[in-house]
Amino acid sequence: METVLRRLETVCFSLVAGLVVVCLHRVFLGVPTEVTMGVVQRIFYFHVPSAWVCFLAFFVVFASSILYLWTRKSVWDTLAHASAELGVVFCTIVLITGPIWARPVWGTWWTWEARLTTTLILYLVYVAYLVLRGQTENRDQEARFAAVLGIVGFLDVPIIYFSVKVWRGHHPIVFKTGGGQGLDPVMLHTFMLCMVTFTLLFALLLIQRFRLGLLREELQELREQEQILGA
């Protein structure tokens, strides 16, 4: 598995390295400036892909949590841990870039709208997930508890979204991403390119973090063996 992961990593790395440059060029120099929102709209090329990657990451946590409880193979737990960390990182990016955009466009840094509120709660759930991992007694317990939370947390997402929506009433959402009929094809292409790039970036980071986790486990095992031999 190690060689496959390494190869995948190299492929992802070269793709991401190239695509990031293209993305940056297109976002800052290629696309036309949005008429009503102005320059700040360009933050969307980072904001939306980050949000997508964040949800993808939490889905990976959910899926690997189920697989862990089912198969009891520690690789799934390692994968879930890696993905949760990345999800939190990307969620942080979403929560920082969002208000930067909202301030000039909506006139406020924050509003308790369904999407925003859900993202914030989601963020707190997975931060708690990472804290929980650090506070357990042993490896097996950590994996089991984290898997349970990984499943409950993800199942909670649609419930939270739905409940915040009902709570706030059906407020019209003031904007649509890109929006309207007059979406410039250059904008759309750039946007899609950014989505692909961020997804690949996530894959790259996930593989790296996953490999690191595997190595850490290997080291732990070797240490335990050493202790047994030394004793």
Binding site: L69, I121, L122, L124, V125, V127, A128, V131, L132, Q135, T136, E137, Q141, R144, F145, A147, V148, L149, I151, V152, G153, L155, D156, I159, I160, F162, S163, V164, V166, W167
Partner: protein, 227 residues
Amino acid sequence: MGNPSPMLLICRKDLKQEFRTRESLTATFFFALLVQLIFAFAFDFLDLGLGFADIGAGVIWITLTFSALLSLQHSFLIERERDCLQALALCPVDPSSIFLGKLLANIALVLLVQLLILPLSALFFGYDLSAAAVPVGLVVVVNAVGFSALGTLFAAMTAQTRRSELLLPLLLFPAATPLVIWGVKATRLCLAGRRPEAYGYLVALSACFDVIFIVVGVLLFDYILEE
């Protein structure tokens, strides 16, 4: 009486233990009372001209979530002493009945504290609860069930970790937001004297969440107890 189910036995054990020591109940009640004091200072009702109908829902729900947290926490910390949790896990019964038994006892204790504190709260802030008592009671019961279900599941987990008092709120509050959000909203409508049509759907939806959270608990509790 024949053999009561393991679920009821565990529930009875917890309640018996609580009523003998009254450890959690007294502490939780006085904590809830203390929260009322903080509210009186934080929202200066007289100075700000606010009525209990305006912010009573907030008072009720903050009191409930914080005091429920204490009793939920306690319900599994008592099992930690002398490895009772392990003994419980070794019981030749289905893990889901352990979960349900614990849950029943927790619901009873959480609601008991609310039963004592709610009239006091209304009294402190000069609100006549008699008209709204039944609807508010219903909302509190429905939402407290789901809250306790998630709380029981998470408390079983956090009691086995190093920092349980820190971890339980961290896990429970974000996950339980749907119930708190709707509980507050429905309670506010009740206190404002609105007709049941105005908040009935919120209570019904909360009841659906109760079912979801209980089912999730039943399905996953097994993985938390195993050693």
